[in-house]
């Protein structure tokens, strides 16, 4: 197991935290769960990854940076439990979690 933590500057005009949350995915082989929470982080974004596969810190950094830049996020905390998902699956789950934020659970 490896725990990775990332901090991203976030957009300057990020909306204030609204206490929303979304949880998508299930932890399993080749899969992961992503929880996004809207919290006041002074505009920053905080990502915590617990992964069963060690040694991929650069890959995680790239996928997460791409996600943050595409959506220009701020004041969100992303928490990930990973069972060895590929970068493409991670990117899809991140987008899915963001799409579900603020929607009733389904």
């Amino acid at each position: 197991m490896e725990r990775l933590e990332f901090r991203f500057a976030g957009r300057a005009d990020a909306p204030a935290a609204s206490d929303g949350e979304a949880l998508v995915g299930v932890v399993g082989s080749g899969n992961l769960e992503v929880m996004i929470e809207q919290v006041d982080l002074g505009g920053e974004c905080l990502v915590t990854v617990d992964t069963s596969i060690n040694g991929f810190v650069e890959t995680w950094e790239s996928v997460l940076r791409d996600f943050m830049e595409r959506h220009r996020l701020g004041n969100v905390r992303v928490s990930i439990n990973d069972g060895g998902a590929t970068p493409a699956v991670v990117a899809l789950r991140l987008d899915q979690a963001l799409a579900n934020l603020g929607k009733p659970p389904r």
Binding site: M1, L23, M35
Partner: protein, 298 residues
């Protein structure tokens, strides 16, 4: 036009809950943001889940208050570890305080999580006790089986201790799983790779025919919802008379089917004219068959 079906089998635990409860009524207890994760898995180098593979809370079905749990079969086969078990036991114990119209358990589990076996076994005992306390208080418990993991091990005992069991054909119910039986008794006794044999032995149709589950529905969340809604508040007596009647039923069943070598032999003796077809028919036709058999017996 064929109405749309939303597979219960394919849905996640949270999607099942959303489909079964009245819209907007669910309130989760100890949700993922509480991060009550397994204390044992990290020591074994295994990833945790924020909800430890179970969603518990309260909501309404047809406006009636229920407590409800849904096991997530995708996380460790829905197996019961320390936190998962504590959430389930706590939910059922809460029924004594708030007296809901039913406690609904969406089970999808291989039983105890072997990675935290001692804690899981203790949790199983606590769940079992909570089930009996709730039943003794006259609260209806509804077990629902239709996930990929079926309902095995200690979870199967919990299910059989409930007032009613609702399952789809895809659901299976047994103490030991196919692989366990093969490993212990040998492949000549039970070939775990023979899926048809597995379903003839543990599948929901067989369990319905021999009286171990109460309702068979098609694999559709709405069909499950309607079946659950029809049994809210439907508690059965749990007293000495009920227990003795059940024991008499089991003794009778054993003497009747002792030398049956296959599920099909059992079904033929129950009066099914064409046992080979049972595995192929849809839920509606199957239920008509069961009604005819039970009508003939009365």
């Amino acid at each position: 036009m064929i109405p749309p079906r939303h597979s219960y089998l394919e849905a996640s635990a949270r999607a099942r809950l959303a489909g079964i409860l009245d819209a907007g009524t669910f309130r989760e207890f100890c949700g993922p943001r509480a991060r009550q994760t397994s204390p044992h898995l990290p020591a074994l180098g295994m990833p945790v889940a924020f909800d430890d593979g179970i969603v518990v809370g309260e909501g309404r079905i047809d406006g009636r208050p229920v407590l409800i749990a849904a096991q997530e079969g995708g996380f460790m086969g829905g197996a019961i570890g320390e936190v998962h078990g504590a959430k389930l036991a706590g939910l059922i114990e809460r029924a004594l305080d708030i007296r809901p119209d039913a406690v609904v358990l969406l089970l999808d589990s291989g039983g105890v999580r072997l990675h935290e076996a001692n804690a899981g076994l203790i949790a199983m005992g606590e769940i079992q006790r909570a089930v009996f306390d709730a039943r003794a208080a006259g609260i209806a418990l509804v077990a629902v089986i239709g996930g990929r993991n079926g309902c095995y091990g200690g979870t199967s005992i919990v299910a059989r201790s409930c007032d009613v069991i609702i399952a789809s054909e895809e659901g299976r119910l047994s103490i030991s799983g196919p692989e366990v039986i093969e490993a212990v008794e040998g492949i000549e006794e039970f070939d775990a790779r023979d899926r048809a044999l597995v379903w003839r032995t543990m599948g929901a149709k067989h369990r319905r025919l021999i009286g171990e589950i109460d309702i068979l529905v098609r694999d559709d969340i709405d069909a499950f919802r309607d079946a659950i809604a029809g049994h809210i508040g439907d508690s059965r007596p749990m007293d000495l008379d009920a227990l003795e009647a059940e024991h008499a039923r089991l003794v009778d069943r054993l003497s009747r089917f002792r030398d049956a070598a296959d599920g099909r032999d059992v079904w033929a003796r129950l009066g099914v004219n064409d046992p080979d077809r049972v595995s192929d028919i849809e839920a509606d036709e199957f239920n008509a068959l069961v009604d005819a058999l039970e009508g003939a017996r009365r």
